[in-house]
Structure formats: C-alpha cells, structure tokens
C-alpha cells in the first residue's frame, strides 16, 4: 500500500514536470518577419517595459511621456509620423438623447462649449508663458495625477481639435476597412445597421450638423436642463479628452461660470465615469447611462456596428498624441529592429494597434499575438 502511494506521487510529479517543461519549451519559438504583441493596460506598460516583460509599447499620452520623462524609454516613432493628423478621440452622443426633449438644442450647446474649450486650450498651448498655460497645466496635473514635466511633454504631441473634415472622414473609412479586413466587423453587420457601404456608414455616422450650426448658438443666462443633467462620459486620466475638463472649470471663463454653464448646460459625470476603456463606455451608452461622451474612435465605430449601440459622432476631440516607446539604450533604432521582439499594445482594435500594424507592414513585418 505504501508503494502505491509513492508510485502515485511519482506519476503526478512526472506529469507536472512534463507540463511545466513543455509549457516553457513551447513558448520559445521565434519566426521570421513577425513582431509579437501582448495586450496590456496602458497604465501597466511603463512597468512592463522597465522590467523587460516587453521590448516596446505603443500607447497614448500621458503614458508615453511617463517613460520618456523618467528615462525608462525613448520614443521610436510618433503616431503622427505613421499617419499625420490621424483621428483619435471623438465626442459621441446617444441617439435617444438627441431625439428626446430638447435633445438637439442641448447637444448643439454642448458642442459649442466643447469647441470653445478646445480653442481656449489651443491658445493657451501656443504661449507657454501665459497665465492660461499654467492654468491648463495645473488642471491636467490634477486630472491625470502626473507631474508638470510629464504633462507638458505630453501636451507637446497632442493635437486638440474639433473639425471633422474630409481627411478625418477618410481616415475613419480606412480604419473601418481595416476592421472588415481583419474580421473585427463584417459587411453583414454594416448592412444590418442599414448602411450600404463603408463610406455610407462614415458619412452617416459622422454628423457635422452640430458643428455647422455653431454660429447660431448663443450663451444663456439660465440653465436649460436644471433637473435632468447631461450625463457625461470620458476615460480615466485620458489627456486627449482634456476639453471636457476645461469646459467644466470655472476659472477658464472668467471666474463665475464654467463654459458649460455659459451655454446654459447642467452637466454631470455619468454613473461609471470615468471609464476604464471605450468598450465599457459604449456599454454605458447602450444602457442609457451616458448621454454625451468622449472616447476613442475605434470603440465608437465597432460597438455601434457590432452591438448596435445607437450613437453618432458629433465632434472630434483630438488627433495624434500617441507614440511607440522602446527601452532606452537597447539598440532598437528602427522598426525593423522590432522583429521577434514583443510590443505591448492597448488592444487589437485601438488606433495605436492599427497604426503599428500599418507602420510594420511598410517594413514587411507582421503583427502576431505572442504565444
């Protein structure tokens, strides 16, 4: 009986050792022309880079400046070098909201406040000696919990904007085509939502009517929606979405009212805001918990097409502002050097992933999940 126990333990031990060694061995293969990727939350990327878990990462600000300022990494290539003026974050509105009472009017006013806030930021950033610049930096420090150096470095690469012109739309079309190519969405889904083609989709999904009507929006002395505030969604600590922080700040507009209040809007954070990622925020849209929100263009596109979330894009929030970071002093000086290395990305549908894919394909490299 004693022997049986020993034999059983021996068998278990052999199996365990076998699985362990197989697991370790099988993960050691390397292929030609492949760059491996892992999906990591941007907040964890700097740590992963410094400990060597990954050889590079691509993310949006301030996660790029985090590594650069602390000396952990250097930027190999900025996103605007891969695709100049590429869209990034957008302002999205829930269709049920706009079709509700005063929905159109409230949305117009919101877009107006967003545009003014964006313009204020652009002016402040143009003159780094101005009082507004200092104010903006302080707001950003609070919003992102980073220090001034990181924030200022991050601002250097983000392009705030609101216009949705032809190149904006064609970039979105390009992204949608890439999604269809990789099966992240399908032509069936397009037609299920009632679009005849990708350009039809972008043409309808991007609604410029609110931007066009800006001139007719005037400030209001009274709050138009005192009892039903606009439920605002945004992503945690995402510097790209600074406009909504500015629009809520009282000092910006001369110290009495915020920009939202100037236009008679009562705005409060939606339940669940700030969201961890765009997918979660779109889920909140679907549940009616968010009326107007800031998020990246990819989830705005994919969740609308695949999950039928009834939304529309009403303004841009920013373009560019992402970068590919490599470990300092590692000798990775070109994209070609990334072959067989591991890059951390925020997710397969993110703009950063798409841009990385585009950039690598130009070098003849393919992006594959690390196994």
């Amino acid at each position: 009986m004693d022997k049986k126990i020993i034999v059983a333990i021996a068998i278990v031990a052999v199996v365990v050792v076998g699985v362990l060694s197989a697991a370790l061995l099988l993960s050691r293969d390397s292929k030609e022309g492949i760059v491996k990727y892992v999906t990591v939350a941007p907040a964890d990327m700097k740590g992963a880079l410094s400990t060597g878990s990954v050889d590079a990462y691509i993310a949006w600000e301030p996660f790029v400046s985090d590594s650069v300022v602390s000396g952990v990494g250097t930027v190999l290539i900025w996103s605007d070098e891969i695709m100049p003026n590429h869209p990034c974050c957008v302002v999205v509105v829930r269709n049920d909201f706009t079709s509700g009472p005063d929905g159109q009017d409230l949305t117009k006013r919101f877009v107006k406040a967003h545009v003014e806030a964006t313009q204020w930021m652009l002016d402040a950033l143009a003159d780094d000696t101005s009082a507004n610049y200092t104010l903006l930096v302080n707001m950003a420090i609070q919003f992102t919990s980073r220090d001034a150096t990181v924030v200022e470095s991050a601002f250097g690469h983000i392009e705030f904007g609101y216009a949705m012109n032809a190149s904006f739309k064609s970039a979105l079309e390009q992204f949608t085509e890439m999604y269809i190519d990789t099966n992240m969405t399908t032509d069936e889904k397009l037609s299920e939502r009632g679009y005849s083609s990708v350009s039809d989709f972008v043409g309808e999904y991007v609604n410029t009517s609110y931007l066009d009507a800006l001139a007719s929006v005037t400030p209001s002395d009274t709050i138009l929606n005192p009892t039903s505030p606009i439920k605002l969604g945004y992503l945690r600590g995402d510097l790209h979405q600074m406009a909504q922080v500015v629009a809520q700040n009282k000092t910006v507009n001369g110290g009495v009212k915020s920009l939202f209040e100037k236009y008679g809007l009562n705005v409060k954070n939606a339940t669940g805001a700030p969201f961890a990622n765009g997918g979660a925020e779109m889920g909140a849209f679907a549940a009616g918990a968010v009326d107007i929100g800031y998020l990246g263009a990819p989830p705005a596109i994919l969740q609308h097409l695949n999950a039928g979330v009834g939304t529309t894009i009403v303004s841009q929030a920013n373009s560019e502002g992402s970068g590919l970071v490599v470990r300092a002093g590692e000798g990775i000086v070109s994209l070609k050097d990334l072959e067989n290395k591991t890059v951390a990305t925020p997710g397969e549908s993110s703009i950063q992933f798409l841009l990385l894919k585009i950039a690598l394909e130009e070098e003849g490299l393919k992006l594959e999940i690390k196994t």
Binding site: T39, V40, T51, A286, N306, V309, T371
Partner: protein, 281 residues
C-alpha cells in the same frame, strides 16, 4: 468501446429520472433566455421597439453558431482558434494547480499536525486568504511578467482552498488511529506517512475540487489584464470590450463553463477511484 457504451447505457437506464430533471432545467433556462432575447429584439412572440440593449442578449442560436465558429475559424481579434485559447488557459490552470498542490499539501499537513507550525503560519494565512487573487494582478504582472503573472493569480486562487482543507483534514485525524499506530510501533515518520497522509487524502481531494473551481474564476479576470497566447478569459474580454461581438463573448463563457465542469468532473472521478482504492464510503 462496447463495454463503455454498455456501462453508459446502464447508467442512463438507472438514472433516467434525474437525467430528465437535469435536462429539463437546462431546457427551461434556454427557453427563458430565448424569450428575454425576443423581448429585447421586439420579435415574435413580442413586438414593439427594439431595445438598445438587444445586441447584448443575442439569441441562443446565435451564441451556438458563434461557439461553433470559434472552433472552426480564427477569432477576429487575436486570430487564434478557440483550441489555442483553451490550450493557453489550460496551461495556466495546470501549472498554477501543480504549484498550488505541491506547496499547499505539505504546508497544510505540517500546519495541521504541528502546533508550532500552525501558530507560525496562521497569521500569514489569515492575512492573505481574504485578499481576492485579482487584487494581486498589477504587482504580479510587473514582477512576474506575462507568462507567470496569470499563473500566479491562478496559483493564489487554488492554493488557499487546498491548504485550508488539508489543515482541517490533518487536524481531524482520529486520535484512536494514532494510538493504534503507536502501539504497533509507529514512530513520527510512520505516523505521518501511514496514518496522517492517507487519512487526510479525502480532505485534500475536496480542497482540490474547490480550488479548481476558484481557479477557473480567476483565470478569466487574470487573462483580461495581460496574457500571453490568448486564453478563454482573454477571448471573452476581447469579444466584449475590444470589438463588441457579444454572441462570441457568451460562447466564450460557455467554453469556460464546460472546461470547469470537465476539470472538476475529472477531479471527482479521481476522488471516486481513490475512495474505492482506500475503501472508504
């Protein structure tokens, strides 16, 4: 194989009422699901306006198709077959389980039989036990990298059920058996190997079954935050947040459910064999 089918047929014949009850509850559940889906989609037997949440509750048939699709083709996000995802998750579970087993059983036996070891270990165990394994994710991912990080999460989830059940079993050893063994000449080593260990084995098996269940629960969340080579949890997360294909997300959940049932089932079979071999129950 005929012997197997004979045994299976015998099992069905003997247990058909219980099998029927089990099947009917599943049928009831699927019907309720289908009705809820139809209500949200405003399709027969309901009508009206489609709810905004309709796509979040796809029809059972759609989920079934997505399930088949996930095995037949590559998933739209990471471009892996479901079998690769299953393999990745199984790897993590088995390595995590092996580590947990190898550490928890000796530690549990020691803490159960030696008062000093018990006093030494108790505060640490009580301190770490209630912390959900998922809370360790950030630290593990940075400290242990992407291969070992999720494994460590699974390890923590499986470790404590096995440890605590082993301690309980070791403490429960019938003192009369220890007395009997001593009067038969057993010294400390014999007592441990020939009395404590066999006695505690059923408790260890209980701990293993519990631990495996917890392990599968941890695997999903652990893989959501940085995993190598996919994994079923990673699949679920991608389908939901990255891409919004919820029928596939539910398919992933079904896969996890099946895997969990299979692994606990295997553990149960091992337990039955062990009981028969040891002549208990």
């Amino acid at each position: 194989m005929s012997q197997f089918t004979q045994a299976l047929w015998k099992f069905v014949r003997l247990n058909w009422p219980r099998i029927a009850l089990g099947c009917s509850s599943v049928v009831l559940f699927v019907t309720a699901w289908w009705l809820y889906s139809a209500w949200l989609h405003a399709e027969w037997p309901f009508s009206g306006r489609t709810s905004g949440a309709a796509e979040y509750v796809p029809y059972p048939r759609q989920v079934l198709e997505a399930l088949i699709d996930s095995f037949a083709g590559r998933d739209p996000v990471s471009h892996l077959y479901m079998t690769s995802h299953i393999y990745a998750s199984l790897k993590r579970i088995s390595v995590g389980f092996a580590l947990a087993f190898v550490l928890a059983v000796p530690a549990g036996l020691l803490m159960g039989r030696s008062r000093n070891a018990g006093a030494f270990g108790k505060p640490i165990v009580e301190l770490f036990r209630p912390i959900p394994p998922l809370a360790w994710v950030p630290i593990f991912l940075i400290a242990l990298k992407f291969f070992w990080g999720p494994i460590a999460i699974v390890f923590l989830g499986i470790f404590f059920p096995i440890l605590l059940n082993t301690i309980f079993g070791a403490k429960s050893v019938d003192p009369v058996l220890v007395d009997a063994a001593r009067t038969l000449g057993a010294r400390r080593r014999d007592l441990f190997l020939k009395v404590v260990l066999p006695f505690t084995t059923p408790y260890i098996m209980t701990g293993i079954k519990l631990g495996l269940g917890v392990g599968w629960m941890c695997i999903v969340a652990a893989e959501m935050l940085g995993a190598v080579g996919g994994g079923v949890g990673y699949y679920i997360y991608s389908m939901a947040y990255t891409v919004g294909l919820y029928d596939r997300m539910y398919a992933g959940m079904i896969v996890i459910g099946i895997l969990s049932v299979l692994t606990t089932g295997i553990a149960g079979l091992v337990e039955q064999r062990l009981y028969k071999w040891m002549g208990m129950k």
